[in-house]
Amino acid sequence: MIKTSVRQAIRDAMAEEMRRDSSIFLLGEDVGRFEGAYKVSRGLLREFGESRVIDSPITEHGFTGLGVGASMSGLRPIIEFMTFNFAMQAIDHIVNTAAKTLFMSGGNVRCPIVFRGPNGVPRGVAAQHSQCFASWYAHVPGLRVVAPYTSSEAKWLLKAAIRNDSPVIFLEHELLYSKEFPIPPKIEVMPLDQACIVREGTDITLATFSIGVEHAVKTAEILQAEHGISAEIINLISLRPIDSSTIIKSIQKTGRIISIEEGWPVCGIGSEIISIVCEKAFGYLDADPARICSADAPIPYAPNLEKAALPTVEKIVRTARKLCGQIR
């Protein structure tokens, strides 16, 4: 199989869908001539022209509302946020209108729209540009929230998101854009609401998403090679709805669970995963469930502090060994 970067996969997904359906357009800051701040929309302006690949002013509140309005009347906008940090300016339109209109209108009006862009913590950009918004959006009924890890997930999930008639939050990660993964030339469909097992194991479950999968894979290799612990990795993919049956099945097998995310601990995705486990599979637990999150602090600039704030393989290995009774 050919290897493709996550960046290229996202680009290809948009291009293929835009060729298929003329109601799809891309709107965001510098998505056209500059081809995106992270070069995700390379070549799209050339292929689709200025009417469909639109450089917006720096006006998140306004252009997000514009996108939501366009989606109500039958278009299928892809709104690119230069980063999800900037979507805070626009979150009213996402939460109060995009997510709620189908419900408030009794099924009358739909908002088929994708909000995408990098989310989470890149490196060295300090607190206002380093934050995971997964749990913010996962809290809201009426939204779908997905976070791909591989190129294949990025491509097929984005295509599914664009075709879906609900508003979809599509969380990318700056540090994954250049990573290359093998990508199958064609798969039939990628469900928007299913987790996948990245690696099977018997002793402990690592439940995570986005760049957390990378940490989990490295952790599992170390646990197996150096400590004789067999870790199962769940890539959640969908954070709303969350695929609880995959989590429960795994905990029934392993009896131990660690959630891993770049978000803060309070009311985070980890809180939700552990609630699911406690409510639905408490009897299967052999150890206290654990969360590995960002520290409960804004992300700092100094590299040593930043590292201390983030989930790391060392932290996960240590916690896994504790849960397995190897260390205290």
């Binding site: 002013p57 189908l102 009924p141």
Partner: protein, 318 residues
Amino acid sequence: MRTEEALDLYRKMVEIRMFEEKAAELYTQGHIFGFCHLYTGQEAVIVGISQNFTSTDSVITSYRDHGHLLALGVEPRYVMAELCGKITGCSKGKGGSMHLYNRLRNFYGGNGIVGAQVSIGTGLAFAHKYKSDGGISFTFFGDGAANQGQVYESFNMAALWKLPALYILENNRYALATSAERSTVRNSLKKRGDPFGIRTICSDGMNLLEIIQKSREATNQVRERSEPVILNIDTYRYKGHSMSDPGTYRTRSEVETVRKSRDPIDNYGNVLQKDYGLSMKILETINDDAVEKMEIAAKFAIDSQFPKEENLRSDILI
């Protein structure tokens, strides 16, 4: 205008007034609850402007939305049922007074967030241009919303991209309890389009014929030149911001003075008598018919069922 057309406009205004009065009654009886924002006093605005709607145009407004949907021709009983939270309501009882929609008539709310409809309405205009369907968007907002930043983000994009958007600023004098004088620097609402090169056309909001004329001019410009225009309308709301507002920020006599001197329905009734030679009796008959129609709508709403509990989990995700 032919007499029948002229009378029809009168009927539309009276029906909105009687609808709102009936809604106020049902509110005090407990059939309607929560927030209920009445349009009484402002009827001429929507009735006048709706004369320009075509079937491809789209419309959006704030939570003060009953009159807009009625002017689009939706049967009052479906609106009243929605106000009462009934399954027969136009949003199946899930939206309530503030969240009325009608996809068939391209009516997109009913938005409860002050100013949000301006960005969304700009998106409706964007869609008309994108699809080249010849339609334009009508975006209604108040003097309160006019101080939201996204309004100017929208004006900028609409002017930059030449979007067919008609922005209707319904200045009813009070942003909830804060008067336009206290919220808005030097009465600048009429100049808000200037920095963007967007033309503002002003109209007396209590004079139906003036609104019809001015909105025709505005609509023609938007449609023919595919560019935004602002219609600044000087109107007045008789009732509180919502039914739960006691109106302590203005005097009773201020409201009474406007009612007596500027009422849009009385004004237009006088025109009908003077210019069309219609008798008071004909107008009274229209009033009586409207009262009866709203009585029937109210009965339909009250007699309807609340949504079933299983409806709670539907219409959330597709």
